[in-house]
């Protein structure tokens, strides 16, 4: 077999170089996006952006204070709608849904909902919340995001609970503890930081959603009081401002993009820090 070893070495070198290049490319794309948004955003970012309302068309200046608060309000409401169902569903899947039909169906359904385009979620919330109430509202936006959150939270909760070894559950069961106590007092505490990390990542994923908000939360150029009025949010503001024909709005859209990116990034880093303190299993 002439040259077999050389041949293998060459293949190895090529494969190594290709995987390395792809890894670099991935990293490159990330830094390019971050850098590009930062360069464009930073110049338009000022104190007014965080404290002032948007100016009327034609006037320059103003800020997006209402949209920043609006984004947090929407995420908060989405958490209220989505997390209880999502987390409890995930607990069910991890603890009672392994290897049975119901578990399979729930997991399958969650994965399908996860794959549904987010604008469909928006239409759904429009049909069940906006139409009966006859106007756009923070509530409708929160419901749309909350429904999106459910399957994501189900799966992340399940994955983090499954990291707890079966042997720990069995050790607890062998002490004569009922199943629910094993879950509440042993399994969940063991996985707690992982679960919180999952929840934070889930929330940061829906924080950037635009499509479900377009015809639910709609948008608002002023402060939105309570939950029953249309509300501004960063993603929708970016959309509206970016497609408008005004130079000043484009600048502000970049600034909004940077702020949104920072919120998501901060949540992700926070989740990482939490995870690092997770107890060793």
């Amino acid at each position: 077999m002439p040259g077999t070893y050389r041949h293998r070495q060459r293949i190895n070198a090529i494969a190594f170089a290709m995987t390395g290049l792809c890894a670099l490319f991935t990293l490159g794309v990330l830094f390019f996006i971050l850098g590009y948004v930062t360069v464009h955003g930073v110049s338009s970012l000022n104190w007014d952006f965080f404290t002032k309302l948007p100016k009327p068309v034609g006037e320059t200046g103003g800020g997006m204070a209402n949209a920043i608060v609006g984004t947090f309000k929407l995420i908060g409401f989405a958490a209220l709608v989505g997390l209880p169902v999502g987390v409890l569903g995930g607990i069910y899947l991890a603890e009672f849904g392994q290897g049975n039909t119901i578990g399979f169906l729930v997991r399958y359904a969650a994965d399908i909902i996860n794959g549904v385009p987010s604008i469909v979620m928006g239409i759904f919330a429009y049909a069940v919340v906006v139409l009966p109430m006859k106007h756009f509202s923070a509530l409708a936006g929160g419901v749309a995001l909350g429904i999106m959150l459910i399957p994501i939270a189900v799966r992340s909760t399940e994955e983090f609970l499954k990291l707890v070894p079966m042997a720990i559950r069995e050790a607890a069961l062998a002490l004569g503890l009922p199943r629910w106590k094993v879950i509440v007092r042993v399994v969940i505490p063991t996985a707690l930081r992982g679960l919180l990390t999952g929840v934070l990542l889930d929330l940061s994923r829906v924080a950037g959603e635009t499509a479900p908000l377009l015809f639910t939360a709609f948008g608002n150029r002023f402060w939105s009081v309570g939950w029953l009025n249309p509300i501004a949010s960063l993603p929708v503001m970016i959309f509206t401002y970016a497609v408008a024909p005004y130079e000043d709005w484009h600048r502000q859209a970049w600034a909004a993009a940077l702020v949104l990116l920072m919120i998501v990034l901060a949540t992700n880093v926070g989740a990482r820090v939490l995870m690092r303190k997770q107890v060793k299993i």
């Binding site: 290897g99 049975n100 062998a174 002490l175 503890l177």
Partner: protein, 270 residues
């Protein structure tokens, strides 16, 4: 030696009087499956109280499955099921609540699994505390007593608030034994408790087993035939899900009746 304070943990039945009478186990025609895989075939076996019964056999012969049937942990695995009768002091364990059954039939596993979020104290107290015992002095007494019985007290008495996962492998295993003893079971199942331990830690556990059998009925699964010979009064040999031979340990090791037992203990296969 009793832990009277832990009495409220045991099942209020005719058999749970404070002197712990017999607590023998009888398996009658026990069959077990994982899915379609038939792992235990017609096991008949009478385990005598207050002595050590060893179960030996090659890997995959059903030894662990058998003892996991005794505390109904087998059925927890998805797809696993069991048929036949297991009598605990004459009472069918299928008529008992599995939770109550497991308080009478404790278990120590192959790999020590201290609860990772709990301190040494909390680990030992877990069985009682999570079942509603709030009395702190009572918990302290039981924890101390259990750790002493597991021969761990002297090594950890100044570090009770440290995490249980910080102990060495042998200490963790004794911690798990203490944790099992704290709920005051009558029977202790041990699933290869020394397979992950060094010889010194193993010797400690074996010493402990000999000490514990004064008060507990012990069933130990082991891969180590010397260990079975050292600690047990009776030995059962399992092969491919069947009970091949069961009897006095000395007889099994010196004068086995079945050819297959002889082949196994002399190392001709395994």
């Amino acid at each position: 030696m009793m832990l009277p304070m832990a009495q409220d943990m045991t099942v209020p039945s005719a058999t749970s009087d404070p002197v712990k009478p017999s607590h023998g186990i009888e398996a009658i025609k026990v069959n077990a499956w994982f899915g379609v895989k038939h792992v235990l075939k017609d096991i008949h076996m009478k385990i005598k109280p207050r002595q050590v019964t060893a179960i030996i056999g090659p890997s995959g012969c059903g030894k662990s499955t058998f003892i996991r049937c005794l505390n109904r942990l087998h059925e927890v695995v998805p797809g696993a099921r069991m048929e036949g009768q297991i009598l605990l002091d004459g009472a069918d364990i299928w008529e008992l609540d599995p939770v109550m059954l497991r308080r009478r039939v404790g278990m120590v596993f192959q790999k020590a699994q201290p609860f990772p979020t709990m301190s040494i104290f909390d680990n030992v107290a877990a069985g009682l505390r999570l079942n509603g015992t709030r009395n702190q002095t009572q918990l302290s007494t039981v924890v101390e007593e259990s750790l002493k019985r597991a021969a761990l007290w002297d090594e950890v008495k100044d570090a009770l608030d440290k995490p249980g996962t910080g102990l060495s492998g042998g200490q963790q295993q004794r911690l798990c034994i203490a944790r099992a003893l704290a709920v005051n079971p009558a029977i202790l199942l041990m699933d290869e408790p020394c397979s992950a331990l060094d010889p010194i830690a193993t010797a400690k556990i074996e010493e402990l087993i000999l000490d514990l059998k004064k008060n507990y009925t012990i069933v130990i699964v082991t891969h180590n035939m010397q260990q079975a010979a050292r600690v047990s009064d009776e030995t059962a040999f399992f092969l491919l899900g069947e009970l091949i031979e069961f009897g006095n340990t000395k007889q099994i090791f010196t004068n086995p009746r079945d050819k297959r037992t002889e082949d196994y203990i002399t190392g001709r296969f395994g």
